[in-house]
């Protein structure tokens, strides 16, 4: 029985390897891009190795969705104040579900770069003939593609069956999701990148990670939509990058904000991508000058 499973797995591996090689051959015609796509592909495959982790990841996602859909359903069935908040019960439930799915879709390996800086392994990446920022982004995109197929999609399927949510019908919503998700993901990646760069200057980076994670939890919209923040905090939240990571894609996708409003948010996302991109390059340059490897 066990041998059978092994044989089937080997068969699948052999077949997918063939496909992979074909893809790489085709990519050889575009040398500039092919390198980064290969890195993304490798990261995708690496993820496949951790099966139990994967299972737990899916269950964790479902636990969180269960908690917050229960919470909103309870509040919206008891409270009189719910008419003024801009969400219906089914609206807030789909917000909770899709915000969590989008959050799960974004792969987060921010410890990788940090570890490389701490151990000095980053020196090896710096002497290689490619752009380290680009390679790191490619690897994260690979991990993220893996998360879309293997975590976000099954969780979505379970939610569509058990949580009383439905997908929007209009193609515009999917287009808006694609654009806002990509921009949101870039913001997410670069915020993580900048925090990882701190490791060049300080040794104890765990504390900064904790603070980043706390702010992300509260302000990204992954749990509470921006609309529920008290009036005096809301404008401030709009001026930090976190809400553009999850709130904007989720609210655009479920149609909580109109396409016109979404376009306004997309413009802001663009500004953030440009700002953070510039900051990432500047900090990376400064870090390279700062770098001292402690032994080898």
């Amino acid at each position: 029985m066990i041998e059978n499973v092994g044989a089937i797995k080997n068969g699948v591996m052999a077949r997918s390897k063939g496909a992979e090689e074909k893809l790489f051959d085709a990519l050889e015609r575009f040398p500039a891009l092919s390198l980064y796509i290969k890195f993304a592909f490798k990261a995708f495959q690496r993820q496949l190795a951790y099966k139990f982790e994967y299972f737990v990841g899916v269950v964790n996602g479902l636990i969180f969705i269960f908690i917050f859909t229960s919470l909103w359903k309870n509040i919206f069935s008891n409270s009189q104040a719910t008419e003024s908040v801009g969400f219906t019960t089914s609206g807030i439930v789909s917000y909770a579900v899709f915000a969590m799915i989008i959050r799960i879709s974004m792969s987060q390996d921010d410890l990788g770069v940090m570890g490389k800086i701490r151990t000095g392994a980053i020196a090896m990446d710096m002497i290689k003939p490619f752009n380290f920022f680009g390679v790191t982004l490619a690897e994260n995109v690979g991990g993220t593609m893996f998360h879309w197929f293997t975590r976000a999609a099954p969780i979505l399927a379970v939610c569509l069956i058990f949580f009383d949510v439905s997908l929007p019908r209009h193609p515009v919503n999917y287009l808006l999701l694609a654009v806002t998700w990509i921009l949101g993901y870039l913001i997410y990646f670069m915020v993580n990148w900048l925090f990882a760069m701190l490791a060049f200057w300080v040794i104890e980076t765990f504390s900064f990670q904790l603070m980043k994670y706390g702010m992300f939890t509260l302000f990204s919209g992954g749990i509470i939509p921006l609309d529920f923040f008290p009036d005096f905090i809301r404008p401030a939240v709009a001026y930090i990058p976190f809400m553009y990571i999850l709130y904007v894609p989720t609210a655009s996708f479920i149609g909580h904000i109109s396409p016109a409003e979404a376009l306004g948010f997309i413009a802001f996302q663009g500004v953030w991508v440009a700002t953070l991109g510039l900051a990432s390059v500047v900090v990376w340059r400064a870090a390279q000058k700062k770098l001292i490897i402690q032994g080898g």
Binding site: V56, K73, I75, N78, A81, M215, T217, I223
Partner: protein, 268 residues
């Protein structure tokens, strides 16, 4: 037994002193932990300012619920914190070393785990309990004052037993990182909120099969003098935390003994 206790305490103090070695880094981490937990609390506070109450629990009552959980978690990490890293000791073979020493292996593991997060937990837990009981008008009687440490003891046994049981799984599977993540960390998020917001099936699960509700939800009913209209069971359940704690811990300890007796080193 007394000698064992003395060695245990000496080892605990040694591990605390090791963590206090770098004071600046210690303080900064403490601050970062406060920010992290404030964000967690912030979620609940924002929901409450917007909607008034959650399943009939007001801000003060929610603070008490949260405080009971976080405080008992702080005590749990002092005593059982290192169990979450137990996988590492099994993989590296370090655990074998503990087996040949003249002190129970469990006590040796338990004495090495002081974490800074413990201080943050106790601090936030105390603040939340204080604010919560003030704001929801808890009338502290002698009985309530005496019963609070007993409840916390029971809650610590539930959480410690859970960690011990999950660690014991390593004797069979060597690895348990994912299981720790799911059963120790993620599951706890369920009891940030009164469990009456969940489907009754889940309430049953959190009461009988995986009794996290006894850490804070049921005992809070007693301290806050809640009517208990939202309870699925007879109101007497609010007094059962110490018994449930003892039962959970006993079961976990049995599993641990069973695991040790059939343990074969992974080699090194």
């Amino acid at each position: 037994m007394r000698e064992e206790l003395r060695i245990y305490l000496t080892l605990v103090i040694a591990s605390i002193r090791a963590r206090m070695e770098y004071k600046a880094s210690f303080l900064f981490l403490f601050f970062a932990l406060l920010v992290y937990y404030l964000a967690q609390v912030g979620v609940i506070v924002i929901v409450l300012t917007k909607f008034g109450s959650i399943a009939g629990w007001t801000l003060g009552e929610m603070a008490f619920l949260y405080g009971l959980m976080v405080f008992s978690q702080g005590v749990t990490t002092v005593m059982f914190g290192s169990l979450n890293e137990f996988e590492g000791q099994i993989i590296s073979g370090d655990f074998d070393r503990l087996l040949v020493r003249p002190l129970s292996p469990l006590l040796q593991i338990l004495s090495s785990g002081f974490e800074i997060s413990t201080v943050a937990h106790l601090f936030i837990g105390t603040t939340a309990l204080y604010f919560g009981s003030k704001s929801s008008g808890v009338e502290w009687t002698l009985l309530k004052g005496l019963y609070l440490p007993v409840v916390i003891g029971g809650a610590v046994l539930i959480q410690g037993g859970l960690r011990l049981g999950v660690a014991a799984v390593c004797f069979w599977t060597i690895r348990n990182r994912s299981l720790v993540h799911m059963l120790v960390y993620s599951s706890k998020e369920m009891i940030f909120y009164p469990i009456s917001i969940y489907h009754w099936g889940m309430q049953l699960l959190l009461t009988i099969a995986f009794p996290l509700a006894f850490i804070n939800y049921y005992p809070s009913h007693y301290f806050l003098s809640r009517e208990g209209a939202d309870l699925l069971f007879h109101p007497f359940i609010q007094y059962l935390t110490p018994m449930v704690g003892a039962a959970v811990f006993a079961l976990a300890y049995l599993l641990w003994r069973l695991g040790i007796s059939r343990y074969q080193s992974a080699g090194n």
